[in-house]
Amino acid sequence: MYYNVFGEKVSRARWKEMENAAKNRRELIAAGFNRRDLFKMGLLTSAGYLVAKRGLSARWGSLVPEMQAASPLVKPFVQAMPIMPVKSEENNLNPAPTVAPNTAGGEARTRNHQALTLFPPQKFYKLTALAKQVSVSPSLPAQTLWTYDGFSPGPTFVSTYGQPILVRNFNQLPPPSQNGGFGLPSTTRHLHNGHTPSESDGFPCDFFSSQNASSLYWYDQHYPMQYAGILSTHPGTGDINEALSTLWYHDHRVGFTAQNTYKGLVGYHLFFNQSDTGDETTGFHLPSFPQYDIPMVFADKNFDSNGMLAFDMFALDGLLGDTFEVNGVVQPFLQVQPRRYRFRWLNIGPSRFFQLFMTNAQDQSTLPFWALANDGNLLPKPVQVSSVTIGVAERYDVIVDFTNFAGQTFYIENRLVQNNGLGPDDPPVLAAPGQGNLLLKVIVSGNKNVQDNSVDPSTITMPRFYSLPDTTPTPAVTRTFKFDRLNGMFSINGQFMDCDVVRFTVTRDTAEHWVLGNLSGNWQHPIHIHLEEHQILSRNRMPPPDFEMSRKDVTRLHQNERIELFFRFRDWTGRYPLHCHNTVHEDHAMMLRWEIQPSPQGDTNRTP
């Protein structure tokens, strides 16, 4: 008899596959990246210094020899890290937004706004997806990327709770004949972790065409900017403890999210309120935006021998890049003052997991920092860490204190070794300090006369920020979702994504437990569920670590793991997805559509 993580009987073949995966992991650990082995492999000299012009290849594991051809070498740290511009608002929109879709006027929306009259927008924006020639490195030729308003990452939206907004999205992407390869010029823009009514969520199947191809080429999205619970558990105010801080937006086109986001369709959206103010002299006293509060988008990319961005459309298990970008450029530098900073870190994938360290360039020592927010949600108090692991679409807000390091240089370094779309090995294999992927060079100014009114995280000993919402309510149902590799594709409960199939319906304003199980051998999956934040109740029946005692919207599902989540489904109705955020897995069917409806339309399907 053979059993999986759920204690279920499995075939001998499946068990062998699981066993094999474990064996491979042991072999890798045996091969290990401890100092001695690195030395033996020629990565370290006897004095402990790094060997010149050698290091860990970012994609040595490809089965296809040609795919191992590395991108052209790029001279690192020669350009400043771009800061995305803050999105500016419009005085008004013409035609004015309407509750029903303005089909006659060219709007592609298919469902009425459910909260437009209740929370009338106070700010209006236009955002256009379009192709633009940009430079990602002085070592590479200009690239035609897909951008929002000409920027990739797109402009940073900055919003305030209680001030509803409306974004009019235009699709002006060029026809495929002008794309030079991957990317489908059909879009739906998701605000990742917004508590957003379904019709404005950027549901993957709500895609619409470019102005070149269709008379329906724009789409209004309404963000009520209210805390969850506003129409249910906390009428009139919403639950402040559901406040969100660091959100991002990206194209979510079903089947083509990996190609379209890789081509550039991503950006940040920050939410502030009376506590998280963006001003270090008020509220929680977190470093002021934008001077000392800096959003960073991490991505790994490949470039072909012509120096052009390349996407392997036939890498169906996942895609790793060997060239690392921050905010849309290859390995930039950032100049900072010797004081505290709030860095917002986001991994946009497509498939790589990062474990980020602050490495001191002088002596390769590791600078500890503070995890402030997990997935954009402030922890009850900051947690000191030496690194954070960040799957695709996860975010960490961190506080890095450079006060005592005037004149020194650091690198934000990924030390997590990953060789293919499976995910990192279990337990993770780490590169030696300085031998990982150096993403950003951080140069601390020598000027010591710097004001810093931000709170020192080391003085916060008691919970000070938001409390974790109660997870004791009895779940209406416990649903189980098994993530598996199936016939070369990726399934959830043995089924594949289909926009037209509603797999289950949740009763609005109830709580549920969702169990995520990973049966797929050596694969790992960052699982994202839209609408409300969840909390991890257990990992393999044990409580999660303290930095995961938080609200989350992406949870990393490791090898052969069982995770139990607590969920509420408040305020809105309609369709939402559950999916793997390894965008290659997501595009290859590891997604399902579920719905929220008022009682009594919900079901209690336990294995939908």
Binding site: S57, P72, L73, F256, L438, N487
Partner: protein, 207 residues
């Protein structure tokens, strides 16, 4: 055991140049040599022009005769497969009906055997007849190494060499693409036929 162990791969990694480490070398010029068009590059990387034989006995070349300037679907199968293959084929029969007379005109469907030793053109022909497949859908066989090359180049592979050895893991995926537009996607052969047809339509209209 896999022929190349992870340990060996790890060791070889030490020899590879790396972009992004402290020790990164001097950048090369991105403009060296003649540039190749993206379409040519895609062909070089993924579409070897190997000779194949159709279920009607016709000799064809993979790129020149089957892919060039066409919208296509590609899947792997073998006729002795008892589970996933017949189901995928049954789904594709429905997909072919849903796509109507475009199949054979500007959309072409290709099912490549993963078991060419057994699946001769005659065996494939009777398989096609059993499923009542229509015109514009070819079942293809050829040399073992050519089909293996196509399987790997087209990405019908698993990163775990042990899993990759089991051919049953490669027969549930349908790739679809628009060769001149260089636009490719993939979906499960066991998805609903209506859904598969919808996915294929995305690269026909392309946007």
């Amino acid at each position: 055991m896999p022929t190349i162990t992870r340990r060996k791969l790890l060791a070889s990694a030490a020899l590879a140049p790396v972009v992004g480490s402290l020790a990164a070398g001097e950048p090369g010029s991105p403009h060296r040599g003649a540039t190749i068009s993206p379409r040519e590059k895609l062909r070089e990387l993924h579409f070897p022009n190997v000779p194949l034989t159709t279920h009607t006995g016709k000799q064809v070349h993979f790129y020149d005769d089957l892919l060039k300037d066409k919208i296509v679907t590609i899947n792997f199968m073998y006729t002795s497969c008892t589970d996933t293959c017949p189901l995928t084929t049954a789904h594709l029969v429905k997909v072919q009906k849903l796509l109507g007379d475009r199949v054979g005109r500007d959309i072409f469907m290709y099912s490549l055997t993963i078991d060419p030793k057994h699946d001769s053109p005659a065996v494939l022909k009777s398989f096609a007849e059993k499923f009542h497949t229509g015109p514009g859908w070819l079942f293809l066989t050829g040399k073992d190494e050519d089909l293996e090359l196509l399987r790997v180049k087209l990405g019908f592979i698993d990163p775990d060499p042990e899993v990759d050895k089991d051919r049953a893991n490669h027969i549930g995926t349908v790739e679809y693409g628009n060769e001149p537009l260089m636009l490719w996607g993939a979906c499960p052969g066991l998805a609903h036929p209506e859904w598969i047809a919808k996915e294929i339509s995305w690269v026909i209209q392309a946007g």
